[in-house]
């Protein structure tokens, strides 16, 4: 692992992109390590796709540099493209070709020939379960199969860096799991950048996440960092038998508690308490002991996870 992470796969420095008066990307800097599955998150219009288009050499930045495996997109543009496999947002494919024709074409364009082309195509067909669809016209495939064709064309030349822009859009839950497994499998050896606004997806797949808004970095870290590091301490929910005042009083005596909300709930005599801790350490045992020592009964005690959705909404100002 240490060797894998030694060199940076992607380095973005001070990236700016302006479309007329609109600043799509402002002074964006981040890096992706070799072998990482990197989540690139942001609300719609945050500049995700623009950033991906710059990295894949489709459009140049207004200013700033992008280094892919140490090569600059500004002057080593073809070499950079050879290292990248890209699936754009809307999965654009040539709908009048059959799947087989399409891969013969894409493989050739990506420099594969003869036996290598055949073995790579066969491998992609089996990995992406496309063998049965080989003679179908792409335009007549279902959304899920189109997505797999898109993914397979991105991976056919065995790129070092795979860039996927919203790869799950329009897929049903089963297909999502299949594609997620494909991405994970690929990500074991290679680097993947995964753009999305579906957070559960990203937290399930990615090693590290970057959240952007209005073309700027808001936060970056592992999914764990983002959820636990957020809003200070850990949180607990407890259902306790007793009256509100005594529950409140006894919980106050627990070391490390910063805030308590209580609420009477059914059946009668039960109280639901929401407890915020000052720090991140586990105070569950303290809560339990305190309740037991005070002669109260406990039916439920759980530590709440801040969901990535909450982090996302707060950081990107979505709910307001």
């Amino acid at each position: 692992m240490s060797e894998k992470t030694g060199r940076l796969m992607l380095e973005v420095r001070g990236l700016n992109k302006r479309f007329g008066q609109v600043r799509a990307v402002s002074d964006l800097s981040f890096e992706v390590r070799r072998g990482e599955v990197f989540g690139f998150l942001g609300p719609n219009g945050a500049g995700k796709s623009t950033t991906m288009r710059i990295i894949t050499c489709f459009i140049p930045p207004t200013s700033g540099t992008v280094l892919v495996d140490g090569l600059s997109t500004a002057d080593k543009d073809l070499a950079v493209r050879r290292k990248i496999g890209y699936l754009p947002e809307s999965t654009p494919l040539y709908s009048d070709m059959t799947v087989k024709e399409y891969f013969a074409f894409v493989g050739q364009i990506k420099g594969l020939k003869g036996a290598a082309l055949k073995s790579r195509t066969d491998e992609m067909f089996s990995v992406c379960a496309l063998t049965k669809m080989a003679d179908r016209q792409i335009g007549k495939l279902s959304k899920g199969y189109r997505q797999r064709v898109g993914l397979a064309q991105a991976m056919i030349h065995d790129p070092d860096l795979l860039i996927l822009d919203e790869p799950m859009s329009g897929l049903d839950p089963n297909q999502i799991i299949e594609i997620r497994n494909l991405i994970k499998k690929f990500g074991e050896e290679k680097t993947v950048i995964y753009c999305s606004h579906i957070l559960s997806e990203v937290s399930a797949t990615c090693d590290r996440i970057l959240i952007i808004k209005d073309g700027r970095v808001v936060v970056t870290g592992t999914p764990g960092d983002l959820t636990s590091g957020h809003r200070g301490g850990s949180r607990y929910t407890a259902r306790i038998k007793g009256d509100v005042a005594s529950v409140y009083r006894s919980l106050r005596s627990v070391a490390g508690v910063s805030h308590i909300d209580t609420e009477v709930v059914a059946p009668e005599g039960w109280v639901c308490a929401r407890i915020n801790a000052e720090g991140k350490e586990d105070i569950g045992e303290g809560i339990f002991k305190c309740i037991a020592d005070n002669g109260l009964s406990l039916s439920e005690l759980r530590r709440d996870q801040t969901s990535l959705e909450e982090v996302f909404t707060e950081l990107t100002g979505g709910g307001k």
Binding site: F58, L78, R82, Y86, P88, Y94, Q108
Partner: protein
């Protein structure tokens, strides 16, 4: 070179996937044959000058129809985003598309071989002007196609691509025509008639292949292919 070949193959095949190609070929052949053979027995001459004389006008409609899809469809279906992020240079893609269009035009024109065959059966034509005429038609076609593809790279609407290509070709065609040169300041006449696509075809149609005409057509094609590659690069400043 391999990539240009791959793009050529894919583009050329794509012409024949849709039935439109066959419709165009049939319309082209029936139209030109009809117009050529109608006065044929009145003129009573076994040569193809009149046939080749039709081609600049027929190409004016036929070539934009070939090229309108070229880039407009890639832009509309967004496949251009994949195509131009694959490891190919803009020039390779432009050339692949251009040669595919040229090959399609060549196939169509070659199917008019029934005309010279008929001439050889019923008469004794001079083969020189006929071969020269075909060569000239391809050169002229190449220039038209390059213009049409360049126009197509500016829009995602095929109809717009067709009409603008028609206009561009028409202007370049009649600029050397007497209708225009009669009214232009005399200092500009040589320039206009040099730039006109039409003027250069007349001598080729007579079977005279002048290097100046060949160079003219090839440079028009070259210039517009270059502009085409530039306009793809133009996405970069959008």
């Amino acid at each position: 070179m391999n990539t240009v070949a791959a793009i050529f193959k894919k583009e050329f095949a794509s012409y024949f996937i849709s039935p439109i190609a066959y419709v165009f070929i049939v319309v082209f052949l029936v139209g030109t044959n009809f117009m050529y053979f109608q006065p044929f027995f009145l003129i009573n001459q076994a040569d193809m000058r009149n046939y080749f004389g039709l081609l600049p006008w027929v190409f004016l409609f036929f070539v934009p129809a070939i090229t309108m899809r070229g880039w407009a469809e890639e832009r509309k279906s967004k496949t251009i985003e994949l195509l131009l992020t694959w490891p190919v240079s803009d020039a390779q893609v432009v050339l692949g598309k251009f040669f595919a269009a040229l090959a399609f035009l060549a196939v169509t024109v070659a199917l008019s071989v029934t005309v010279p065959v008929t001439l050889f059966i019923i008469g004794n034509p001079d083969p020189g002007p006929i071969i020269g005429g075909y060569a000239g038609a391809l050169l002229m076609g190449a220039a038209y196609l390059a213009i049409g593809l360049w126009v197509s790279s500016h829009t995602e609407n095929q109809i717009v691509a067709f009409i603008l290509a028609w206009v561009a070709m028409f202007v370049l065609m009649i600029i050397g025509h007497p209708v225009v040169t009669m009214k232009t300041p005399s200092a500009l006449v040589p320039l206009f008639s040099f730039l006109g696509l039409f003027t250069h075809f007349e001598s080729i149609g007579r079977g005279v292949i002048d290097t100046r005409d060949v160079i003219y057509y090839l440079s028009i094609a070259g210039v517009f292919l270059f502009l085409n590659a530039q306009s793809l690069g133009g996405r970069k400043s959008e």
